[in-house]
Symmetry: C3
Subunit: 311 residues, 3 copies
């Protein structure tokens, strides 16, 4: 099995319960991964994913091997039939097949271009690994999804929900740089599978891919969306329609203690303080961001466990 998208989760409620059990007893399966190797390939920077996925592997007794592809090796070619007389020195066909010789599972991080929508939506890097590797692939954030984060967030909401069907808001917030849609997309897909009252708030021009949001209500009025919210999940993303553009940095969309009210604040991190959210939120008991970070370990561990069990 691969884990490339939230859509790979058959029943998110079962997965969340299983993740809670792992969290309660993280070393219960330490014999499962004995003498198995997890290769972590980073085409982009990483802190949480890098550390939590290694920790998850160690909890299962696996040996993690980390590789920064750009810094440690060379440019990889993805084109079909390319005459490779340029900057790329190895084709993904070989690279993926070769890494499969040394690793029992391969985890990959590769961000989008944010300039070429078609290329990004083809998930060139991730889908090439799926195609050409001979071992299971785990998505550590790809061009359009971050399903380890989405599973983490479902777990965190389940742990902190005080009512049967809490209201969850995904709110865009301002940022100075053009950021990917991956976290937003996977959160949407995860919430669509949960028993929650889920809405999205973003400025006009910032609607996410409608093929992902489907019939989830989208508000362009943040205040309206936040009414009676139990959880406010915040994330910046660049425009999808004006692909990869920053068309709005309106500070009125920053999350404040006032806006948040009694709701819990969530963010995948890293977060720019006083741009995305004010200090008063992050430094209060309303913030779940550190617990989210902790849950990254158990989301990754559950995925790796299922892969080790199912091959």
């Amino acid at each position: 099995m691969n884990y490339t998208s939230i859509q790979d989760i058959d029943d998110i409620h079962t997965w969340v319960e299983e993740a809670k059990q792992l969290k309660a007893n993280p070393l219960a399966d330490i014999a499962l991964g004995k003498n198995k190797t997890l290769g972590l390939l980073f085409f982009n920077s990483s802190l949480r994913t890098r550390l939590s996925t290694q920790k998850a592997a160690l909890n299962l007794g696996m040996n993690p091997i980390v590789m920064n592809v750009s810094g440690d090796a060379w440019g990889i070619e993805f084109g079909d039939g390319t005459v490779m007389n340029g900057n790329t020195a190895e084709h993904i066909k070989e690279a993926a097949a070769v890494v499969s010789q040394y690793c029992d599972v391969i985890a990959v991080r590769a961000f989008p271009t944010l300039t070429d929508k078609t290329k990004d939506e083809s998930e060139q890097v991730l889908s090439s690994f799926v195609k050409f590797a001979s071992v299971p692939i785990v998505n550590m954030e790809s061009a359009t999804g971050h399903p380890l984060q989405g599973l983490t967030d479902a777990l965190t909401i389940s742990e902190h929900a005080k009512i049967a069907k809490p209201k969850v808001v995904l709110s865009w917030a301002p940022h100075i740089k053009a950021l990917p849609h991956a976290v937003g997309n996977s959160f949407v897909e995860a919430m669509q599978k949960m028993d929650v009252d889920f809405v999205i708030a973003n400025p006009e021009g910032y609607d996410l891919n409608p093929e992902i949001t489907k019939d989830t209500p989208v508000y362009h009025n943040q205040e309206e969306a936040f009414k009676d919210a139990d959880f406010v999940y915040t994330k910046n993303w660049s425009s999808y329609d004006n692909y990869g553009q920053v068309i709005n940095t309106d500070p009125n969309w920053m999350i404040t203690k006032d806006k948040l009210g009694a709701a819990k604040f969530m963010h995948c991190l890293p977060v720019r303080r006083n741009v995305v959210v004010e200090d008063a939120v992050l430094d209060s008991d309303s913030s779940l961001v550190i617990e989210q970070a902790n849950n990254r370990t158990y989301a990754a561990q559950l995925v790796l466990k299922k892969i080790l069990e199912n091959g």
Copy 2:
């Protein structure tokens, strides 16, 4: 407990004896760190510290996870209340708390600016980790101290002392670049706790921070300081008064076989040959530099052992 400074050592004589026992039997405590993770965060380059601290962790059965913060992740913000619309993407408040979710102990290396004395003396990076992490912190060389090196040096001197109270000289030596005071400071603090006759030799304008040297005699005449020395510990540092400046590269301060006489030569490495010290010293039996490097493992192992035992 944290280990951020030589001042965290309650009784250096006991610690040195304990380190000798670890060295005699490095794997005696291999069960102690089982399933515990040491995160090693490098904001700066490292060879000895990188390898010896990992080796120390492995000797205790711990899993080391290495991260080059600048290369593997992104800029970290330390300011309080900063509006993070610049180059930093994550605040130390989150970064330290997050890494604490995955690591049982965090070791940090972060060099000084050498341009901003106030900032350097505030030990911004190290003290922020102490403040915001929820697990013990080990200093792998900070702006003003290198206490794993200082403990190493105390161990090495104890092993090689032929008399009850040997004479130890810390001598400045020339260098082409502006170097930190960290090694010098921690050596001074370590020697002040040992039963040694300790003096410092450096050119005028190169006195270390008087709050650290206290009543340790400082000679501006190297020859006078070296009289009857049993150990000459050599290190370059930039000016403390003219903070971070190179005001003297006088080759007469280079350590030679003639100057050294019967004394043992010590240096933390890396060392520039024929600038700091001549080949004839390093290539002779008078040099203890490789034994110092070896002892780095046992200093780190003792510190980690105490942390694992005391939490």
Copy 3:
């Protein structure tokens, strides 16, 4: 013992048989390397060697510690008697001796300059480690040799040979960059020890070092050389006579399915598709490149096993 060259193999037939046994039962010796550390020092990029050598170490129960020398540390000085007031901060005398304090075996990758033949042939980096380290050294590709690859290739040919004495051709192929001779050299040396009918094909001006090729036939006509070949091992290298120069990029030397006929195709990878070899070869059953990559693990494992057993 060190493993720096194919010439360190006493009997290649025995080694190949031992490697096959390891491949059949990779974890049989997992107790052998317990609590032993392999230091992998990369002065240059690496993918296969990086991963396969770590995997080999893990199969033997060793702890691998990886270090990118240029990125993680600082410039290393190799000159004798140098006054180190330039860009290098540590001498190999100290560096090699220091790493030996933390690692039971040191593996080193350091490519040639391709501009200074004398320096490259002196194998400055590798031979300095052999000279100044106090533990065994493994060559992970040096200026003039890649003996882990050569042993791998002997294993792969032995596995796939259908007749007692197969014909093996080493063929130069075009490339846009100046590449080292290391893989070609070690393949030549390995084949000279095997029971094969071995010839080399390269354009005029591309003859390898005659002290290595010795009496191996060299054809400047590729078609003639390929007659009745069972294995075609392909590799680009820059000119040896016009040292490090690219004097020919004739696409007629590219390997095609037509040229290959019934022979098996081999390459150490990475390979530039449709420059060195056409897609139709790599994507066919004639290609052994992924099996070669897999065998890298067992070549490295055999070398490490012998070192652990013999010290």
